[in-house]
Amino acid sequence: MRDVVTAYPPLVRSATLVAATYRGRVALSLLTGFFPLLLMGVWLTIVAEGGPPKGWTTGDFLSYYAAATLLWNLSGDHVVWQWDADMRSGDLSVRLLRPVHPFHQYATNDLGHRLIFLTVLVPALVLAALLVPGLDYPVGPVRLAAVAAALVLAYAVSLLMASTFALIGFWSTQTSNAWLLWWGLGSFASGWVAPLALMPDWLRSVAVVLPFRTAMGFPVELLMGRLDARETAYGFAVGLGWLAAFAVLYRVIWRHGVRRYQAVAG
């Protein structure tokens, strides 16, 4: 365990440097990540035509989708493609030989990239909150600390969920499609398709106990000041519960799966 902890800073640092080298790619993936803004654009038209749905004003939608864009770029989902590619090519064999478990190799690599995104997106979000009328977050020191904790939890849950899913690759070649199906279904419960407050009641009551909201909607709602103390505590409890569940699930599946692994290439 100590080895893993000491390995994190240098591995994350080297991944950050790699990500910083390909600045153009980072800029491009930020620019093409405009999908949430399309969804927002339609909401703004609805507000302009018929008034705010359920009290959600233009400012609310701007605040929600600006923060949602940050969360989208912060998710740890991307490790699925890396796992899938390495299992197919046999590059996983090399990773198995290294002293740190592959999970941590993928995690540190992804974390390095996320940090580069954060250095662009957090100042952009602060700037937007200062400049764009209506885009505001009612934050004090306590809430800001809670949001920071919720962001860490969001990343950890999305990373562990994606990594657990990636292990399907030991049994099947359809990991990425299975993941996309899972993600697509989850996107209705995460706040990605629309803010959960605007979803039907039954969906909302299911969503608050699922892991998807922890990784996306929960930190956004917290930042927007839409959760009281009880709902905040409940959100953290659900997130921590899923974190523990995926950690256990990952270990169990890994133990069975890695025995089946036969290197494809040398």
């Binding site: 491009l28 093409t32 969804l39 609805i46 499609n177 398709v193 629309a194």
Partner: protein
């Protein structure tokens, strides 16, 4: 016209070879078709959230928005099946010198480079997309006249030409920039912007999307099918599409002039 039939025959052979290479992976094929269908249901269900609060957005009912979403899947499927696999190979063509080899073939270089490959996994997407469009038309309760259908066919053809022109333009850029992956993102973004009718966005976004010309991809063909197209677009759309193909072809030839070859 023997030139045309010869070109068609050669492309058919290229496609048969590409298909033969991929149909071996049957599970993969069906899994991808199922996923395409899922994404379509996903998009339709996602759009339905808007209509919990309103009957029409900018004059578009939910059924009419489905018509556009179906067309979006049609065009996006064509992009993924026919255009993207060729565009993404451009980097290798230039880097490895394959382009030199392709240029020496007794065949139109632009057609060969831009249409040689096909990705089987997305070939059914246009069929699924048009099925959703049909569902949207039926749900909208509008009858479709023969004239509207003909106008729709014309505008959809223009949309496909426009998309092809963009791909050729990006290929021309790829010869110079050797960054096909990044350029592929541009064509992805262009099509993605056509997911909803452009009227669903307010100005200035709507104006930009009309000029860019995202509106020609799905919004205008859908309007034609629903029988509410401004008639002057029947002239403008073909002009824009043909103009785009001409510009792209000129850009492609120009980029080949600046290309000095990579193989020894």
């Amino acid at each position: 016209m023997s030139g045309w039939s010869r070109h068609a025959r050669v492309l058919a052979i290229c496609w048969r070879a590409a298909v033969a290479g991929e149909v071996e992976y049957r599970l993969n094929f069906f899994s991808n078709v199922a996923l395409s269908a899922f994404w379509m249901v996903w998009a339709a269900a996602g759009a339905s959230v808007y209509f919990r609060f309103t009957g029409t957005v900018a004059g578009w009912t939910q059924a009419e928005v489905l018509v556009v979403i179906g067309l979006f899947f049609t065009l996006n499927g064509l992009r993924q099946a026919l255009l993207q696999p060729n565009l993404e190979r451009m980097t290798d063509y230039v880097r490895l010198g394959t382009l030199d080899f392709l240029l020496t073939k007794p065949f139109d270089a632009q057609l060969l480079v831009s249409l040689r490959q096909v990705r089987v996994n997305n070939l059914l997407d246009p069929v699924l997309g048009l099925a959703l469009t049909t569902v949207g038309v039926v749900l909208s309760g509008r009858g479709v006249s023969v004239v509207a259908l003909a106008a729709f066919g014309l505008l959809l053809g223009c949309a496909v030409l426009l998309l092809y022109a963009l791909t050729v333009l990006l290929m021309a850029l790829a010869v110079v920039l050797v960054a096909a992956e990044e350029l592929g993102r541009v064509s992805y973004a262009f099509v993605e912007l056509s997911r909803f009718p452009v009227e669903l966005y307010r100005n200035p976004v709507q104006a930009v999307l009309t000029v860019v010309p995202v509106a020609f991809l799905t919004t205008y063909p859908a309007a034609a099918l629903l029988g509410r197209l401004d008639p002057y677009l029947l002239v403008i759309a073909p002009a824009v599409a043909v103009g785009a193909v001409v510009v792209a072809t000129l850009a492609w030839r120009r980029s080949l002039h600046s290309y000095s070859g990579a193989s020894a």
